[in-house]
Each structure stands twice: as structure tokens, then as C-alpha cells.
Symmetry: C2
């Protein structure tokens, strides 16, 4: 590129109409001049300097992505991750913010993904390593999306659960049980105090535990638990399946008694979720398979908060995400980025409930609460409820007892003296903490 070519891919924020652009934060490592590399990145992800042969034209003013900010520093040690590529030159680590004109593709999730996570971003000359760190949408773009139907407030209303976290549990054994014994586990966990008993994200509409039987058994168990406890409960059924079955499985599961639905967002596709959102009458909860495949590394791929924002945009009321602690291999700052992406303002799009999960039990609740910094989160043990020595009822009770202690400022060990379930949890799981 000539200096003039490069300059055409740079702009000042004040010179652009912010409603016409989404903003993208990238970090990348390039070989060669960072300023030229960022111009290529804009060119590749929008319109290159194409002109028809024999025609004097320039599509950049309207159609090009443009660099707004650029910072770089040399990396004398070279690329931070080994890559097979032929680019030569001194390596720089770069931060760039780019304005991308959304009129190029419109308010369509697949076309948005193609533009900001596509060939143009990951095959830009001189940039073998790049990570999309964040994305911001103007209100004009958000206006075309419905977002969550219920959101945090709607979910709390349904559960009549205010001023505290929402207590989920993943029914275990996750795979292998037929509907009736599986439902019994959910029933016991509701009696113990869970708000939401859920299918594992791996549990599909399979012949050894068909969704119709499972939803019927859990739906009936839920009604019994609601009668016995006097409070609303949710059975969260996993309807992850081919997109052309989602509406049918929604109707089936809801008719049988499921009152929220789990969908593995990326395996189904965010567009399929947006389609389901138009049809759905119950809260939609996202699970996170496939996301780590492109979000785990700090130097390559897509930051998981981008996917959190997109899941909220697509209409999820709740986003389950890898949580705190070494088990989920996600740095604390990144978990918090994802939590904020659920809750912070996003035009007219409602907040959704963040559920940072992974190897939780009564003893990890306070740490999650302190880190999140508010009660607007979901807590989702598996073993901590269903592997509790007193069974799922005792396991759920241990979680609620832990919350009682936390909210009253009583140390867990002290509260456990008078609460057998919490005591048993500390005995069984405490050594791992």
C-alpha cells in the first residue's frame, strides 16, 4: 500500500456518524509496519480498494472499515505463538480500534459474524495472530434486535426470587438415566431449595431418555415440588437439536412441563437461537460448548465476552459461562468481562443473567458472590448438589444454608454447626477448596 492507500483506511471518530458504525477492538501481532497492517485489516474485512478496470472509483468513504486508534510496541522475541507463515519483518504487538460500517451487511447475525470474525480478520496480510477483543454496537444497530424477552428481572419475577443469586443445579448422572429416576433427582433438589434443576448440556432428545418423557416426568415433579414448597420452580430442559426441530421441541417440552429451555448457543448457531426467540414463550438459557475452541488463548481468536454480547443480542435470558477458579482455565478478569457483558447497558436490550459455572458447591458460593460483586448471578453446581452425601435434597439445602450464612455475615463453619447439610458439604467437598 502507498501512504495514500493507507490514509484512506484511517479516520477520526468525530468525523464519522457513530450510528453508522460498529466498533471493534483488536489486538494483533504483525510482521512489518503496524500502521499498514491495520489498514490491510480494514481493507480485508470490508471493501478492498477494488475498482473496475477502466473506472475511477473509490468505495472506501462509505464502505471501508477505518482505524480509529492504534498503539503498537515492538516484540523483539517475535510472535508469541508459533505460526506457520511466510511473513517477514520486525514483529509488533498492536492494539487497534476499528469502525466498521454496519450498512455493509445489516442487522443479521451470520453476516455480522462473517464481517467481524471472518476471512477478512483472520487472513489479513502480515497478521498471523489476532484476537477480536470486544465489540460495541450503536443504538441504530441494536434497534433491529429483540434481545432477551425476560432478562434478569423477568426471571426473578417468574421465580419470585429477589435480592439473592438464582440457584441452579445440573442433574447428575448427566447421561444414562431414564426419565423417571432422573426426575426424582430434580424433585429432591427442588425440595432442598434449588430454583432451577437443569438438564446437562450433553443431554439430548435421545431414545434412552426422550425429551417428551423427560419433560413430562420433570414437569410433574416440578408441580409437586411447587405445591410442597410453596414457591415457583423451573425445570430447564435442554432442547439443543437441529434448528428445524427447535420450535417443535420448544412446544413439546413446554406442553409437558418444562418452563425454561437450554440451548447450546454456538453448536446450534446464534441465528437459530434468534429464530427460536421469536417463537419462545419461556426463558432461554445459553450453554457454552464450542466457544473455548476460539476463546481460550489470550493471543488468538475471539474474546469470550464478544460471544456473551452476541448471545444476549440473540435473545438469551441467561448465559452460562466458564466461571472462576483454575478448573475452568479462564482468567478471573475474563470471567468478569463476561459477567459485565451480561449486565451493563446495551441500548434497549435487557440485561441477561450471568452464570459463571464450574465445580461449584456451598463452599465456593461466597467467592463467586464477592467476585461478581452483586446478587445478579446464577450459581450452578453439579456434584455440589447431586453428589452431596445426603443426596440432592441435602446438596441443595447446603447451598441455601451457605447463602443464609453469607447474607447474614456468619462464617460458614459456624453456620454449619447447626446445619447438617452444610456441615456434610464442608466435610465432603471442603478438602478440595
Amino acid at each position: 500500500m502507498t501512504p495514500g492507500d493507507i490514509a484512506g483506511f484511517y479516520a477520526k471518530r468525530g468525523d464519522l456518524n457513530p450510528e453508522d458504525y460498529i466498533e471493534l477492538d483488536f489486538t494483533f501481532e504483525c510482521a512489518g509496519d503496524p500502521r499498514e497492517a491495520a489498514a490491510h485489516l480494514c481493507s480485508e474485512q470490508s471493501t478492498a480498494q477494488w475498482r473496475r478496470v477502466g473506472v475511477d472509483e473509490d468505495f472506501r468513504p462509505r464502505f471501508a472499515a477505518k482505524v480509529l486508534d492504534l498503539e503498537s510496541e515492538p516484540r523483539p522475541s517475535g510472535f508469541s505463538i508459533p505460526v506457520e507463515c511466510a511473513v517477514q519483518g520486525p514483529v509488533h504487538a498492536v492494539r487497534a480500534t476499528i469502525a466498521h460500517p454496519h450498512g455493509n451487511f445489516g442487522p443479521r447475525i451470520p453476516n455480522l459474524l462473517s464481517a467481524v470474525c471472518g476471512e477478512g480478520v483472520f487472513f489479513s496480510p502480515g497478521i498471523p495472530l489476532i484476537r477480536l477483543q470486544d465489540i460495541r454496537f450503536p443504538d441504530s444497530y441494536l434497534a433491529a434486535f429483540e434481545g432477551p424477552r425476560f432478562g434478569v428481572a423477568g426471571l426473578r419475577e417468574r421465580l419470585q426470587a429477589f435480592g439473592r443469586p438464582i440457584f441452579f443445579g445440573v442433574i447428575k448422572p448427566n447421561i444414562g438415566l431414564p426419565a423417571e429416576p432422573f426426575a426424582e433427582l430434580g424433585y429432591q433438589s427442588w425440595l432442598g431449595g434449588l430454583d432451577i434443576a437443569k438438564d446437562d448440556e450433553m443431554l439430548a432428545d435421545v431414545d434412552w431418555c426422550p425429551l417428551s418423557e423427560r419433560a413430562a416426568a420433570l414437569g410433574e415433579a416440578r408441580l409437586r415440588a411447587e405445591r410442597e414448597t410453596g414457591v415457583p420452580k423451573i425445570y430447564l430442559a435442554n432442547i439443543t437439536d437441529e434448528v428445524d426441530r427447535l420450535a417443535e421441541l420448544h412446544d413439546l417440552a413446554v406442553a409437558k412441563g418444562a418452563n425454561a429451555l437450554l440451548i447450546n448457543a454456538m453448536p446450534v448457531g446464534l441465528s437459530g437461537v434468534r429464530m427460536l426467540r421469536k417463537h419462545a414463550t419461556v426463558p432461554l438459557i445459553a450453554h457454552f460448548p464450542f466457544i473455548a475452541a476460539f476463546s481460550r488463548l489470550s493471543g488468538y481468536g475471539i474474546h469470550s465476552r464478544v460471544l456473551t454480547r452476541l448471545q444476549r443480542l440473540a435473545g438469551f435470558d441467561t448465559v452460562i459461562m466458564p466461571g472462576f477458579g483454575s478448573r475452568m482455565m479462564t482468567p478471573e478478569h475474563e470471567v468478569l468481562d463476561c459477567v459485565r457483558a451480561c449486565l451493563e447497558p446495551m441500548g434497549h436490550i435487557k440485561p441477561c443473567l450471568p452464570v459463571p459455572g464450574g465445580s461449584d458447591w456451598a463452599g465456593t458460593l461466597e467467592g463467586v458472590y464477592r467476585k461478581v460483586g452483586s446478587v445478579d448471578f446464577g450459581f450452578v453446581p453439579g456434584r455440589g448438589v447431586f453428589g452431596h452425601p445426603m443426596g440432592p435434597r441435602g446438596g441443595a439445602a447446603s447451598i441455601r444454608q451457605a447463602w443464609d450464612a453469607i447474607s447474614q455475615g456468619i462464617p460458614l463453619a459456624q453456620h454449619a454447626l447447626a446445619h447438617a447439610e452444610l456441615h456434610a458439604a464442608l466435610e465432603a467437598f471442603g478438602r478440595r477448596a
Copy 2:
């Protein structure tokens, strides 16, 4: 895990019914004992050793994934990619083949992806770095899928193009032109000898170039080109959009004159593609946005051939993929892996046409042909046709002239002496080669 726990996640291939399992090849780096790490990997991706409290049960014989083969070697230098994780212990590089019982989830793409690219794979204890290298399906699993309707043979039949590569071209400028001048470029490229003029993968159903107008203009131009050349042509329209618009856009584009359709596979979601395949009456062509985000690195993510296989399974007749040369940052062996994944036997699923693309022009055709080793591929220049100094008609002609030279064993430079378009291509693009 105890030695007994670990042993329950190992099996001999001969002791399993191969029709009940898909096979997965992984490479990973682990901290600690590789044999235990591989057992965890099986446990996490299928059923852990869950048992109900007070019940003596073991779901592993039927529901567990099982290690078939394991090789490991120490990595005294530690992990090959920096990772934030707390696992400690000597690092090993491991290759493992795992049999995963597909009855756990059934012949559903989202549930397959959840199992083999999901939480269980990317959050397995002690394994911060892992790459799914390959996947193999038994006929019992493939039987539930239709695969491509046309495949390589069907596409050749439609084009009456036998014994040679299929010549595509990406109409450029890719973004910004209204329908009429855009169609004129396609028309010229067909007259010059292209089989298939295509929309860029970034070109959506946008207000400045609506699909209905574009398909009508290109459809009309295609019929004129067919009349004038006497051979069939294809206008490949990009209908990438929200999944609930795919069938409608298929019908619209085909009614107006498009006779093949481009879909960005991962942004739309493979399940959305499988849905469209049931409806479609024309060949479906995949483009590759988003895939590099998880396939670029040799030490983490998912090998792109896995996605090639899944795109074929979902029903694509053609898979466009990053091709040869440093521009596309993909090692040659990996491009060839993807080419083979299109063409090699896959039960009753038809072969699909591989199109390894990236910065191609007349001068790169022979190299691609030699590397692929057969004529069963597509060749997809952008600039090499539409940036040719004599325009797209000359650009397309230069490609066909190059093929004539190759198939007759004549050096390009010699053939160019009597063929102005090839000569101009060598002059314009040759210096970059």
C-alpha cells in the same frame, strides 16, 4: 482417579462394536500423567463416573468415551503455547484416539458438536491445550444424513464440464456496486470462460444491492452468456442470512435466476445448512468465515478438515477453503487434508468439490493442480479475473488459456506468445508469483 477408574475409560478396538462409535483423533499437551489425562478427557466428553447417592451403578460400559490408542512424549520445555492455568506437573505431548458412543447424542449436528468440540474436550482437567485433529463416522451414523444432493458429479453434469477443474471467479468490487454494473462484470467473466461467477462471501441482501435485484440482473446476464457461448453457466448467489430467511432467499434467488447458492457455513450454523439442504433445488457452496478462529494454530482448537467433513455431511456440494501459498497462512499438508476430506469415501455421502482459494490467477493454476493431484477441484480467482488489465472477460480467458497450456503440456510463457489475455496476466500478476 484410581487405576481402576482410569482403566474403565480404556478399551481395545476389537472389543467394541465399531458401528456404535465415532472415532476422534486428538493431540493435546497435559500436565501430569498422560494416561490419566486421556481418561479424564473421555470422562468429561461423555459421562463422568457419576452415580446416584446410595446407588451402585456404572454408566461407563455403554455411555463412556474410551481411549483406543495413546502415545506420549515429554515436553521438557513445557507447554508450546502460553496458557493461564494452574495445573502443575511435567508436561507431555500426547496423541490419542478415542471412541465416542454416538448413541449418547444421536445424528444431530449441534449435539455432535457439543460432544466433540464442547466443554468436555476443552475443559478437561490437566489439558489446557488440545486440538481435535480428525473425526471418523461409522456407516450407521452417516445413514441418517443426506450429504450433498449433487456432489462433484452432479455439478459437472450441470455445467457439462468434464476432465478439467471448475472455474469460479469472485466478482469484484465485492461491496458497493449496485446490481446492474455488478451483473455486467459477471456477464463479461462468463463470456471469457468462467463456469461460475460468484458473489463475495461478504455480500448480503443489502439495501444498496438487494438480492432480488442482483439475482434478477445476474440471472438475465447468465442466460445471455449461455446463449452466446453455447455452454451452461452458474450464477452463485450469496444467501447467507438469518436461518429463518434461508428458504425464502433460496426461493427468491432461484426464481430470479441464481442456479447455485453460497452460504457461510459456520456463521449460519451447520444445522441451518442441513435444514436448507432439505429444501434446496440447486447446488450449495460453502464459504469459510469463522473457521480460522479455531483452526489456525497447530496446537489448539479444531483441525479444519473436521469442519470440511462436517460441511460435506451437512450437504454442501462444494467447499471453498483457504488454499495454497503463504497468503492464506495454511500449511500445504492441511490444505491437502481438507481436499481429501471432500473427495475420499464417506459411506453413502457423495464427494463434494474442494475449492482451495486465495490470491489466484492464471499463473497459480498449475501449482494448485499439481498439488491437488487431480482435476477434481475448483479454482477461484478474484483479482486474477476481475482485476485483469483487459477486464473480467480477458481475466477469465487468461485462466482458460492457462488450463489449455497445462493440459497440453505447453509452458505458460510459450502459450502466452499467441494468447494476449494470458500474456497480459503474466505481465500484470507475474511479478508477485
